[in-house]
Symmetry: C2
Subunit: 180 residues, 2 copies
């Protein structure tokens, strides 16, 4: 897992993959699966929608830190597994066979098995809408990993796997931010 | 373009496709391309990040209405075209050969060529974060369309096309909302 340029970290979230969010508020590591994410700025700033119905929310509020980890299609059953049990009564890292890796900037762990990880600070919580605003402070990418296809939740229990890539860099050259 | 169940409309946005957002504040129709979207509730409620840098933002604030249209891969060059010119000096429907269709609940038009359209009301604007909160009030899906693969922007001028679908309905049955 090597460091990647922070200015490119938004490209991990912009395509809308299912992500895992880890937290640690001093006691134990936890993970949640979420699809309700949004890029808000290239710096990068991200939004996630979550609230008291998620066990991780209390840890997110208390620690004001988390890691967004990007899983790939080979991890789909772990991703669904994380999303269908609760940290209230389960050590999800242990149950699902995932490996926490100590980060540099936040108490929440990176996930070794994932394609990429972004260490994040909570910079605001918009209570009215259950939006947690995150600033990425460091990003890591495992380029030695063969499987790089992410998955996208439809919301009905099915998932779309990344297909082929189309290049429109030339048409879009005036709209791509510096450093990307 | 037939009506679809509003309770399923979030499934159009949850996988994170690039979308087109149309507006009409009384003068003319406009379209913008955005990837910075998020589901916030199943009812459905959506967030988009946009601000004064987008010409459509003024129309969105004034009319407090829009349509989210879902394009498919065959429309990629129109989608990039919409995103690389401005409604300030361009009639994007005309320039890109797209057809506005009158909606039932909002002044903004549906886009005939798209796979799906969601008529939306602006229910809040979180100024501090440039987040516009939308509630979907009606949704339409063109099931006669052969091409149903959407596209996901990476943010560097490349796009990922939807690949194959994986079914985890059984594992997730307790987490799927009613009516989906």
């Amino acid at each position: 897992m090597k460091k990647m340029q922070l200015s490119k970290a938004f490209t991990l979230i912009e395509p809308g993959p299912v992500v895992l969010v880890t937290t640690n508020a001093g006691e134990k590591n936890n993970i949640m699966t979420i699809s309700w994410t949004m890029v808000m700025d290239f710096t990068p700033v991200f939004a996630i929608t979550t609230g008291p119905w998620n066990y991780s929310y209390a840890a997110l509020r208390k620690s004001r830190e988390c890691v967004i980890a990007i899983p790939t299609v080979d991890l789909i059953d772990k991703v669904v597994g994380v999303g269908t049990c609760s940290g209230a009564d389960t050590d999800k890292f242990e149950k699902l066979g995932m490996t926490p890796v100590k980060g540099r900037h936040v108490s929440a762990p990176l996930i070794k098995e994932c394609l990429a990880n972004i260490e994040c600070k909570v910079i605001d919580i918009v209570r009215k809408h259950n939006i947690v605003v995150l600033e990425g402070v460091a990003a890591y990418f495992n380029s030695s990993r063969k499987e790089k296809r992410t998955i996208h939740a439809i919301g009905d229990g099915t998932f779309i796997v990344d297909g082929r890539k189309l290049d429109r860099k030339k048409m879009m050259r005036t709209r791509i931010p510096a450093g990307v």
